[in-house]
C-alpha cells in the first residue's frame, strides 16, 4: 500500500490511500497514517478512490485514526470509496461514525464546518 499527504487551502490535509487495505497493506502504512493524523484540531480528508479492497483490519485502521483525530478536536471524512468498499463500510455501519463524501467540496465543507 501507499500513502501520500497533500495540503489543501484552509489547512485541510488530504491523505491519498492506494492499494488493498488487508493485513499486509495496512501493516505498510499504519505508522505513517497515524503520524499524519497526530496533530491537534486537524481537518482530514482520506481519499479512498484508489483502494480496491477493504478488510476488517482496514476498517480498524480508519477507525483508530478517526477516533484519534476526533479526540484531539479534529474531523476526518472519507472521500469517494469504490462501490464494493463503500458497501463494506455501510454494512459494518462505519459510515455512521466516519462520514463518507462523494466530492471534494462536500468533504472540505464537512471537515471545516
Amino acid at each position: 500500500m501507499n500513502i501520500q499527504e497533500e495540503l489543501l487551502p484552509n489547512g485541510v490535509v488530504k491523505i491519498h490511500l492506494s492499494g488493498r487495505m488487508d493485513i499486509a497493506g495496512v501493516g505498510e502504512i499504519e505508522t505513517r497514517f497515524a503520524g499524519m493524523t497526530a496533530s491537534p484540531r486537524m481537518a482530514i480528508i482520506v481519499d479512498m478512490s484508489q483502494v480496491p479492497f477493504m478488510s476488517s483490519i482496514g476498517i480498524r485502521a480508519l477507525l483508530i485514526n478517526a477516533k484519534a483525530v476526533s479526540k484531539r478536536g479534529g474531523k476526518l471524512v472519507l472521500l469517494s470509496p469504490e462501490a464494493n468498499v463503500e458497501k463494506v463500510l455501510v454494512t459494518s455501519g462505519i459510515d455512521q461514525i466516519i462520514p463518507i463524501c462523494h466530492s471534494q467540496e462536500e468533504a472540505v465543507g464537512k471537515v471545516t464546518a
Binding site: S56, L63, Q96
Partner: protein, 700 residues
C-alpha cells in the same frame, strides 16, 4: 556479561597479529634466518637448471683424463712423475693455451732412480751413486713444467700443511678483498720444485653441500695470500695476463677478471655454477695422448685440464642437474660458462627484491582475502603463483639471474592456507552457533506451538457442539463450524436455550486474526452470553442486549479491536425470529427451490466502536422450509491462488438449488465445500465461520 570489550580486544589482536608476523618474517628473511629457506631456495635454483640447463656452445676445455683404461694400460696410480713429464711434453707439443693440473703432488716420487736404487738389496755403491746422479722424476717433471704454461693447484685446509703459498700477482680494485673471501689457514701444496716450475698457481677447493657442488670460489684466501681458482688462473695464463683482477665495492666482491675479461661473482668471490649435462666429448684419455693416438689439433689453443676419472681415485660429486661427475669436469664446466659468458649471478639486491615481493604479496592477501569471494580469489591466487614461477624462470633463462621466487610463493601459499583454515574454523564455529541457535528456536517454536495447540483446544472447546447440544429438541435443526486461519481465530459463534422455547444464537467476527483476535473473541463471546443471560429478554429487545454488550466490551479495549456480530433469538413454538446486526454481513435465507435472499434489517456499527449506540431489533418469521445461513467474511473474502475473491455472488450461486431433503448440516457442508473448492489449497486469508439454522414446526 558484556562481551564486547573482550571481543574488541581479540579482534584488535587478530587484526595486528598477521601484519606484525609478516614484518618479523621479512626481517628474518633479510638476515637469512628463516628456517629451511636456504633448502627451498636451493631446490628452486636446481629446478631452473634442470628445466633449462646450460648449452655447451664452444668447447674451450679438454680434459686429459687419467681414466680406467689409462690406469690399465700404464699402471696403477701414482704414476712415476717421469710418465707425467711425458704427458706434459705430449700435451705441450699439441700447443694448448694453458694446462691446469687438478692433481696435487705434495710428496717426492718414490719411483725416482735414486729412491728406487735404495730398495735394491746389495747394490753396488758406485752404481747406486751413479744412479743417484741421474735426475729425479720430479726434476724431469719440473723441467717439462717450466717449458709449458702449466697451472698447479693447492688445496685449502684448516690445519696442517703449509701457511705460505705461491700466488700470481693480484690487482685489487677497491678495498682489500681478503676478509670477504672463503678463507683457509693452510694449504696442501705441491713439491716446492714443482711449484717453482709452474707458471700459474691456483686453489682447487670447492664447497660441497650435501654431495652437490653448487658454487665454487673464483678466488679464495690462504693465510694472507689471495689465490685464484684453477679456472681463473688458467684463463690468466691463456690470456697472457700478468695478474688477476679483484674488484670490491661496499664490503662485497663485485667480480674477478683477467685481461679483457670480467666475471661478476657473489659477494664472497664465489660463482654459482651453471651446469650443462655431462658430456664425454670433454674427455680425452691420458693413455691415448701418451701413445699419440689423438689428433694433433685436439688440444690446440685449448684450456687443458689434467685430472682423474678412474674409479677409486676420486669422489664423484653431484651437479645441480643431479648427475655424478668427476670433480675435474666441474672445473671444466666453470671454465666453459666463463668462456661463453654464461655464468649465473644471484644479485646482491635479490634479498631486498624478494623481501619486497613477500611484503607486497603478504599484505595483498591480508587485504584481499576478507574482501573477495572464493570464486575470484582462487583464480587470482593461482595466477599469482604461475606469474611468480614464470618470472623467476624467465629471469634465470634470459638474465642468468637467480632470484628466489620460491620464498614469496611459499609465504603466499602458506598465508593463503592459514587464512583459509582460519576462515573455515570461524565458519565452522559460526555454523555451530547457528545450529545451536536454530535448535533453540525450534525448541522455542515447539513450545509456542504446544501452547498454541492448547489455546486452540481451549478456544474450540468453548464453542458449543451442535451435534450434542440440541439432541432432544426436534424443533431445531442447527449446524455450525469455525475454522481459524491461524492456530487460533477471531471468529465466534454460540447458541443455547434461553428458556424452554427460545434458542439464543450469535455469530461474530473480531477484526484481524491470530492471538489478539482470539483473546478478544473469547472476551466478546463470554460477555455477550453473560449479558444475554443477565438481561431480561422477556420483551425480546435484542437491540438493548447488543447495546449492553457493546458497553461491556468497549470498556477495556486498548488495542481498539472491534467485533461484528449477528445475534438472534428464535421462538421454537412459532418460528418467530428476532435479530440484531452489529456491522455483520447480512445472513442468507435459503429454501429448496428458491433463490437465496439476504435477511433484511439495517444494522449498526460493529461492537466496541462507539461506546453507546442504540441498535435496532428486527423481526422475521421463519417457515419450516427455510434455512438461515449466517457466515463471516472468511467465506466471502476467501481467495484462490490467482488472488480472485470468492464473493457473495458465488456464495449465493452455490446455494441456489438446495435439495428438499437437505438438513442444516448438509447445507453448511455444501457452502463450506464450495469455498474450499474455490480456494484450492490457498492459505486462508481470514477465519471462516458458518452457522445454519432451521426451525422445524412441531406440526410437520
Amino acid at each position: 556479561m558484556d562481551r564486547r570489550p573482550l571481543s574488541r580486544f581479540i579482534s584488535l589482536r587478530r587484526g595486528w597479529a598477521a601484519p606484525l608476523g609478516l614484518v618479523v618474517l621479512i626481517a628474518l628473511h633479510l638476515v637469512g634466518a628463516v628456517p629451511f629457506q636456504e633448502t627451498l631456495r636451493t631446490f628452486s635454483f636446481d629446478l631452473y637448471q634442470i628445466l633449462s640447463p646450460r648449452e655447451r656452445v664452444s668447447a674451450p676445455v679438454v680434459i686429459v683424463d687419467i681414466d680406467e683404461s689409462s690406469l690399465q694400460s700404464l699402471g696403477q696410480w701414482p704414476w712415476p712423475r717421469s710418465l707425467m713429464a711425458q704427458l706434459v711434453e705430449r700435451i705441450h707439443a699439441m700447443e694448448p693455451a694453458a694446462v691446469a693440473f687438478d692433481i696435487i703432488m705434495p710428496e717426492a716420487d718414490r719411483t725416482s732412480p735414486c729412491q728406487s736404487a735404495q730398495y735394491i738389496p746389495n747394490i753396488d755403491q758406485k752404481l747406486a751413486k751413479a744412479i743417484c746422479r741421474l735426475p729425479s722424476n720430479d726434476t724431469l717433471l719440473a723441467e717439462k713444467l717450466k717449458q709449458s704454461r702449466v697451472v698447479l693447484g693447492v688445496a685449502g685446509v684448516d690445519d696442517g700443511g703449509s701457511d705460505s703459498v705461491n700466488a700470481p700477482p693480484m690487482h685489487a680494485v677497491g678495498e682489500d678483498p681478503k676478509r670477504l673471501l672463503r678463507h683457509f689457514t693452510h694449504a696442501l701444496t705441491n713439491l716446492p720444485e714443482l711449484e717453482q716450475a709452474a707458471s700459474g698457481h691456483a686453489i682447487l677447493s670447492a664447497d660441497i653441500e650435501r654431495g652437490v657442488v653448487r658454487r665454487v670460489p673464483l678466488i679464495a684466501a690462504i693465510g694472507e695470500t689471495v689465490l685464484p681458482s684453477l679456472s681463473l688462473e688458467s684463463l690468466r695464463i691463456a690470456s697472457g695476463s700478468p695478474n688477476f683482477l679483484v674488484k670490491t665495492r661496499q664490503d662485497r666482491v663485485e667480480g674477478v677478471g683477467v685481461e679483457g675479461l670480467f666475471i661478476p661473482t657473489q659477494e664472497d668471490g664465489t660463482l654459482m655454477v651453471h651446469y650443462s649435462h655431462h658430456d664425454p666429448a670433454r674427455f680425452l684419455s691420458a693413455a691415448s695422448v701418451l701413445k699419440g693416438e689423438v689428433d694433433s689439433d685436439a688440444l690446440r689453443q685449448k684450456l687443458v685440464l689434467v685430472g682423474f676419472s678412474g674409479l677409486g681415485l676420486v669422489d664423484f660429486p653431484s651437479t645441480a642437474l643431479g648427475e655424478r661427475v668427476p670433480g675435474v669436469e666441474i672445473h671444466a664446466q666453470v671454465m666453459e660458462s666463463i668462456f661463453d659468458q654464461d655464468t649465473l649471478l644471484r644479485p646482491y639486491w635479490s634479498l631486498w627484491v624478494e623481501g619486497t615481493a613477500m611484503m607486497a604479496l603478504g599484505l595483498a592477501i591480508l587485504w584481499g582475502f576478507p574482501r573477495m569471494k572464493a570464486t575470484v580469489l582462487v583464480p587470482i591466487v593461482a595466477s599469482v603463483i604461475v606469474a611468480l614461477a614464470l618470472t623467476g624462470f624467465m629471469l634465470y633463462r634470459y638474465q642468468h639471474w637467480l632470484i628466489d621466487v620460491a620464498s614469496p610463493m611459499f609465504l603466499f601459499v602458506v598465508m593463503f592456507g592459514a587464512m583459509l583454515a582460519d576462515s573455515l574454523i570461524r565458519e565452522e564455529l559460526q555454523l555451530k552457533a547457528l545450529e545451536q541457535d536454530l535448535q533453540r528456536q525450534r525448541e522455542q517454536a515447539a513450545k509456542v506451538h504446544g501452547e498454541m495447540e492448547a489455546a486452540k483446544r481451549f478456544q474450540m472447546g468453548i464453542l458449543p457442539d451442535y451435534r450434542e447440544t440440541f439432541t432432544n429438541e426436534p424443533r431445531l435443526d442447527i449446524a455450525a463450524r469455525m475454522e481459524p486461519a491461524k492456530m487460533v481465530g477471531g471468529d465466534l459463534y454460540d447458541f443455547f436455550m434461553l428458556d424452554e422455547h427460545r434458542v439464543f444464537f450469535s455469530v461474530g467476527d473480531v477484526c484481524g486474526k491470530g492471538v489478539p483476535a482470539s483473546l478478544f473473541m473469547v472476551i466478546s463471546k463470554t460477555l455477550c452470553k453473560s449479558v444475554a443471560l443477565r438481561d431480561d429478554l422477556h420483551y425480546m429487545n435484542l437491540g438493548k442486549l447488543m447495546r449492553h454488550a457493546n458497553q461491556e466490551i468497549s470498556r477495556d479495549n486498548p488495542e481498539m479491536l472491534f467485533v461484528t456480530a449477528f445475534i438472534g433469538l428464535l421462538d421454537l413454538r412459532t418460528g418467530e425470529l428476532i435479530y440484531c446486526n452489529a456491522g455483520h454481513e447480512p445472513p442468507l435465507l435459503l429454501a429448496p427451490g428458491c433463490r437465496p435472499q439476504e435477511l433484511d434489517g439495517a444494522g449498526g456499527p460493529p461492537i466496541s466502536i462507539m461506546d453507546d449506540y442504540d441498535y435496532k431489533t428486527h423481526k422475521y418469521i421463519l417457515s419450516s422450509e427455510e434455512f438461515l445461513c449466517i457466515f463471516t467474511d472468511g467465506a466471502t473474502e476467501a481467495f484462490n491462488p490467482a488472488q480472485e475473491e470468492y464473493g457473495k455472488e458465488r456464495l449465493m450461486q452455490g446455494l441456489d438449488d438446495i435439495p428438499p431433503q437437505a438438513t442444516s448440516e448438509t447445507v453448511m457442508n455444501l457452502a463450506w465445500n464450495n469455498v474450499s473448492a474455490f480456494t484450492d489449497g490457498a492459505e486462508p486469508s481470514d477465519d471462516l465461520t458458518m452457522m445454519v439454522i432451521r426451525w422445524r414446526s412441531s406440526r410437520t
